[in-house]
Amino acid sequence: MSNRATIPIGPYHPLQEEPEFWKLIVEGEKVVDVDVRIGYNHRGIEKISEAKSFDQSIFIVERICGICSSSHPIACCEAIEDISGIEVPERARYIRTITQELERLHSHLLWLGLAGHFIGYNTVFMWAWKYREPICDIMETVTGNRQNYGMHKVGGVRRDIEREHVSYILTRMDEVLKQLDMLKGAVLDDPVLHARLKGVGVLTREAAVDYAALGPTARASGVDIDARRDHPYAAYGDVRFNVITQKEGDVFAKTVVRILEMFESASIIRQCLDSMREGPIDSNPKEIPPGEGIGVIEAPRGECFHYVKCDGTNSPVRHKIRAPTYMNFPTFRETVIGETVSDATIIMAAIDPCYCCTERMIVVDGDDKELLKAQDLIRLSQEKTARIKERFNRA
């Protein structure tokens, strides 16, 4: 226990736009223990939902997380529809798929930008977020808003995709895809990034299964799960796509999975726009009978799970929400112990944590002295990249 020191990060920290309180217990440069306190985002949504009607719940559930603003409502609608097998019209299923894949695209681009910023590639940050804007414009055209779409309802969707918007969507997607090719080459072929991210923060396959990790975090460790393929919902049963997996489980593998998934998303959107036929977008269910329902969908960070219990009234008796980061976050402890302090930030970012989805905080019970301030950690991460760059330039 000699020379142990605690580094508190947070709750308000330039690395993360969400508040959380971390404590890394270090010996020298190596992390030996970690604890996180969450709860700074806990808004008691499950309790609020019990006092609202099913229609109102969808709007609240949308605001669980800004990035998964289409995933949670679809999962909630699927859970309510599962109670009594409410049918969703075909066109509505395709529109749900399109909004879901557009969200996956913008979420992965957002992640790519933030990850670039954490390791000192600010150009990647600016370009990834700049090329996120066409996706936000498409969302505004389709749903009426850049975030918080208000698009989904039990039994269908609220708004249709007009015929004249289809060519607009395809033009702007092409714009994004060209840049995705460029970003893919820039990121995946860069020897500095290989040296910086390979072998860092490895999550083994056994640990991923034991912690029930989800999404790209699990797929990067070789666990082949994807709710779009395993539990098909919306129109995923009618489109063809690949599930991207890697074996190494390190930060680089997680980056590769996310970048390649973006191309799959673009392909799914094109297939949906080609196959969508005219028809109703809402089956207008009149009542929800007593029962229980489960909705399982694949959000950008992993599988999102909603359980709804109804007693025949217009409000849920119980609404359980489980976001993917809830299962992925405990794997951070597994991956960061033994790594250096300068890698802690990128390892954390590689899970793509969405604290507001998780509504959690972890408290570290350390009473050791503060070694490094919050800004020092991001500086350490960027300095490590600069050192590796210099090594490559000299060689």
């Binding site: 969450i38 709860g39 806990h42 008691g44 499950e46 309790k47 609020i48 006092a51 599962d82 097998g85 299964v209 034991d210 912690y211 029930a212 799960i225 395993d230 539990h231 098909p232 229980e292 489960i294 399982v296 599988e303 799970f305 359980y307 219990k309 008796v317 119980r318 359980k320 489980r322 809830y326 299962m327 976050f329 405990p330 509504e359 959690r360 905080m361 972890i362 408290v363």
Partner: protein, 155 residues
Amino acid sequence: MTADILIEKVHGRFGDRILKTEKRSAKRVYVDIYPKDIVDVTRFLFKDLGLRFNIASGVDDFDGLEILYHFSCDPSNFVVTVRALIKDKENPHIDTITTVTRAAWWIEREIHELFGVEFDGNRDLRPLLLPDDWPKGVYPLRKNFIVPKRDSRKT
């Protein structure tokens, strides 16, 4: 393995320790058990059959506190929900399943602080979400905890 085969295997392994199984659809199976059997059932589903632990949810019902453990069978597209009803609401106890899977680590802490359920064998039941000065014995997700509606004009 389909939902029907799973129900057969569960009955074959546990016999009359299972209170009820219900196949609501090809994708949804509900199994009712006694709370004392939860660790054995979890071990069977997670380790022997290779299902993935999804999450656990607590429900405050009239006859007691129900804890539902949801498991997914990804290759065959169905979700199994194991329901354990704890009749004693004053002093609810159930065994921890963290000995079988670490994935239940956080959810047991959450159910402990929001419903008041004791997970026997789990030594880390620190609060996860609520502030430290939250009064003891007050469980927000129980039905007897009513959030007063506040008028935004007056606060």
